[in-house]
């Protein structure tokens, strides 16, 4: 009896507040916008109390296809998320590797330093970059002082500043799973490779790198999936020309108050993310099983 209750309480909560909401989003994406409260028409009608009529309105989806704005925003989001993920990996892998290879006593503090920024406000940390990146900001002043550039660069309000913002905010999500796999790595394998005459770099490529693939995949998906729908970073650091789908959904909902189109944008975004999310769950399960052994 106790066992059933342990499962049932969180199960019911998640069904009610996680799964059913998606069904409602799906439902509303098929209804029509209306000037009413709430601003959409009913999907199911009991006509004359005997006929059940269901009207599916694909208008919102057709609208997504006809207006190129949405396609541009989806593709742009995927591009920005992909580039940011690669940059996170390029910076995060050596860092995770360095922490995993550091003396035992150092690992805890080094890891703590990765997590610490994560405990302070994300919004304020993104805001800090405005002061650094803007035209008369600290980075431009520094580069001018060094003599690397002659005139201030426009960095803020471009894609570059979005990349900086995303890599900065999501780097811990890349490093932690990478560290978890690299730390468990058996050093004797590398010794064996060295005995067989492999140079350190060859040993890294043929032993360490393949064995850390689960960490690479988990970290990349932890960065990529939320970055696709990111709203705060592009709206603070991005320019008027950078269109990301998270901001489009936000505007559709808050500015245009078109709930059916906002729902259709959300459903389309979820469809883009189904495969990455399932991959994430697969690798998450694998990591848990590996931990069990």
């Amino acid at each position: 009896m106790g066992r059933g209750l342990v499962i049932a309480v969180p199960y019911v909560w998640l069904l009610l507040f996680f799964l059913i909401p998606f069904a409602i989003v799906l439902k509303i994406s098929f209804s029509e916008a209306a000037i009413a409260i709430p601003p959409y028409t009913a999907l199911v009608d009991w006509a004359e109390e005997t006929y059940l009529t269901i009207r599916l309105n694909f208008g919102s989806y057709l609208f997504l296809l006809t207006d190129s704005l949405y396609a541009v925003a989806y593709l742009n989001s995927l591009k920005i998320a992909f580039v940011s993920t690669v940059l996170c990996l390029l910076l995060g892998y050596p860092m995770a590797y360095g922490i995993a290879k550091a003396p035992q006593a150092w690992r805890g503090p080094l890891l703590m330093l990765i997590i610490l920024p994560f405990w302070t406000s994300f919004l304020i940390r993104v805001y800090a970059w405005i002061g650094i990146l803007k035209q008369e900001g600290l980075l431009n002043n520094f580069l001018l002082w060094l003599g690397v550039i002659d005139a201030p660069l426009q960095i803020l309000y471009t894609d570059t500043s979005i990349y900086i913002g995303i890599v900065y905010s999501y780097l811990p999500f890349m490093i932690l799973p990478l560290y978890a796999t690299l730390e468990k790595l058996d050093d004797t394998l590398l010794e064996a490779a060295a005995d067989l005459g492999a140079k350190p770099f060859t040993a890294f490529l043929s032993v360490t790198l393949p064995l850390s693939v689960p960490g690479i995949v988990a970290g990349s998906l932890l960065v990529f999936i939320p970055a696709v729908g990111e709203f705060v970073i592009p709206s603070l650091l991005g320019g008027p020309n950078t269109l990301m789908i998270g901001a489009v959904l936000w505007n559709e909902f808050f500015a245009n108050r078109d709930w059916p189109v906002a729902s259709a944008v959300a459903i389309a975004l979820l469809l883009f993310l189904v495969v990455p999310i399932m991959l994430f769950q697969y690798y998450q399960g694998k990591q848990q099983e590996a931990a069990r052994q």
Partner: protein, 278 residues
């Protein structure tokens, strides 16, 4: 050797990248000048300004209450979920359950926020609850997305845990509830503490989901910060950031010392138990 100097360079760059913006914020929070880039001498006037900003104080108080409530509920639900996943093996609907626990970890916030708002609107239409949106709806939303983090932390702690102590207690005739409260709970308490802290921080920090499910009378701290950043930079934000950094750093150091001591005591207990049984 070349690779190791490459790794060291990347680590130095990475840590600098993470910390330089925060350090600059702290330095400039003491800047007399309103301009972020012009140094006008040391001053604490932005801290004084912060104390007089009623809107920000009210929002901070609301955010703190929501964070404390949702962290507490999410620890209870997340611990149950982590127990179910780590200890119960196969049960009906486990795949769906596992999926629903891990999906919120990666789900884009705009989708979670929109879907929860539409749920609350539909619920209000059909059963008249919740009436309008505010602290209750924000808290429910935060419980839902933070319990995933708690569940993962508790689950991994339980997996790495030796089950034989629990089995021994069972052999001695202890009931499952007693085993949980006397044995399992104390051992996983570090995981529960860090889960609570994580849920608290995530809730305190959330802008997107709270914006969707809040009503006109409920403005959280991130919403105030976001709108003031968009309207124009105010150095008061630097002061606020510095206070948050100071509080968090102190909290983490205290928690770290406390947990290290707990761990030492636990290890000592286990050693004594092992030597007395031998």
């Amino acid at each position: 050797m070349r690779r190791s100097s490459f790794v060291l360079t990347m680590m130095a760059f990475g840590y600098a990248f993470l910390y330089v913006p925060i350090i600059l914020l702290i330095i400039y929070s003491f800047n007399e000048s309103r301009l972020v880039t012009v140094w006008g001498g040391w001053s604490t006037k932005w801290y004084a300004g912060l104390l007089n900003n009623q809107q920000m104080l009210a929002a901070a108080w609301l955010s703190l209450r929501i964070a404390a409530l949702s962290a507490t509920f999410s620890v209870v639900l997340g611990t149950l979920a982590g127990m179910a996943m780590a200890r119960f093996g196969r049960f009906r609907g486990r795949t769906l359950f596992g999926g629903m626990i891990t999906a919120p970890l990666v789900m884009p916030e705009v989708i979670t926020g929109l879907s929860l708002l539409l749920l609350f609107v539909s619920l209000e239409q059909f059963i008249g609850w919740p009436e309008g949106r505010g602290m209750t709806t924000i808290t429910i939303a935060h419980i839902t997305f933070t319990m995933a983090f708690v569940a993962v932390i508790v689950q991994s702690r339980l997996i790495s845990l030796d089950e034989s102590i629990e089995e021994a207690a069972m052999d001695l005739g202890a009931r499952p509830a007693k085993i949980f409260f006397v044995i399992t709970l104390p051992i996983i308490s570090p995981a529960i503490v860090s889960g609570w802290l994580l849920a608290f921080t995530l809730s305190l920090d959330d802008l997107v989901i709270a914006s969707f499910v809040s009503g006109p009378a409920s403005t959280t701290l991130p919403m105030v910060i976001f709108s003031s950043v968009r309207l124009g930079v105010t150095p008061e934000i630097n002061a606020l950031a510095t206070i948050i950094v100071a509080l968090v750093t102190t909290g983490i150091i205290v928690a770290g010392v406390f947990m290290a001591r707990q761990e030492r005591i636990r290890k000592l207990d286990e050693q004594m138990a092992a030597s007395s049984s031998a």
